[in-house]
Subunit: 189 residues, 2 copies
């Protein structure tokens, strides 16, 4: 499964492509950081980020796009730009028929380091080790984009099984309700 | 000048088209509210909003798109969705070569009611009066989208003049600095 990891942002947007293999085997195929100048207007900054991400989608043809879910941050105006960058990338993916998943920072940290509150250095160190890289990816946004793709490779099968199990449970409950209704009708006759 | 006003949102996104004429004359050409179901995933909700806004751009061919600038709200997760909806619309406009402007809620309120902290009812009442509508636009998102477009029609000429004046001032300062540098050189010789 080929996954595109996105650490969204306007100043720096991390992009990665990771190929997930059997079990926990993952291989990095590409990683980069897209930058847009802070003095550019918002719409053109979004254009820069979207153009780069769409070129990656059309070049690497990922089967899924994993984006970091943005929460309220210390800096609210930065969080808005980050959310918007993630939004335009999610839209580009869905328009190409590529499924989009959002993972929270703590889900990503927990997946790659085993600790949901790991710091940036720990995430970078584990990403370097898991992917067998010779040098640590830099800046932190590049490492985060790789971590997101790894997290998705490992969580996606689990999320699929969970969704199937939930669907089965819902179907069973529906059948039970129908049966019950029929029996009640039979009793009334 | 034909302006598309956007009150961004995922649950309800207000869209309007207003034609600005001479002086403060403005005419409403279209207004609607796009809704996406809250149980749909984020990427598909963004798709619904973007598809609708792009259809409007391609049908009404606005010369400018005015979007409400989102700030931290009481509900942070709503603010993120709102910011993302605004982001995908800004990107769609810039890809069509349409200039995008962001106005804050208080700029919009001040423009249409004269009071930057007017309430929703006051904004709706003034929008109805300014546009000479027989019935008040509903829901509030529709009135807000109209208010945004009116605000842009009235502020755009002023913003243009400001930008030109700033550019002139910057050019004058640059010429002065060059002259000063030349004179200093001359003194040294």
């Amino acid at each position: 499964m080929r996954v595109m990891g996105v650490d969204p942002g306007l100043t720096r947007c991390g992009l990665s492509i990771v190929e997930g293999g059997l079990g926990r085997k993952v291989t990095a195929l590409a990683v980069d950081v897209v930058r847009t100048p802070p003095d550019l207007d918002l719409a053109h900054r979004l254009l820069g980020v979207a153009d780069a991400a769409e070129l990656w989608m059309d070049t690497h043809l990922p089967e899924a796009v994993a984006i970091e879910r943005v929460f309220a941050q210390h800096n609210v105006s930065t969080a808005m730009g980050t959310a918007q960058a993630g939004g335009v990338i999610a839209l580009a993916a869905v328009r190409r028929g590529i499924p989009v998943a959002f993972h929270t920072p703590s889900e990503v940290k927990a997946a790659v380091t085993g600790n949901g509150s790991a710091d940036k250095a720990q995430v970078t160190a584990m990403v370097t080790r898991i992917l067998g890289l010779r040098v640590a990816p830099k800046p932190a946004d590049a490492a985060d984009a790789l971590a997101l793709a790894i997290c998705h490779c490992w969580r996606a099968p689990l999320m699929d099984r969970m969704a199937k199990a939930e669907a089965q449970a819902a179907a069973a409950q529906r059948r039970y309700a129908e049966k019950l209704a029929e029996q009640r009708k039979a009793v009334r006759r």
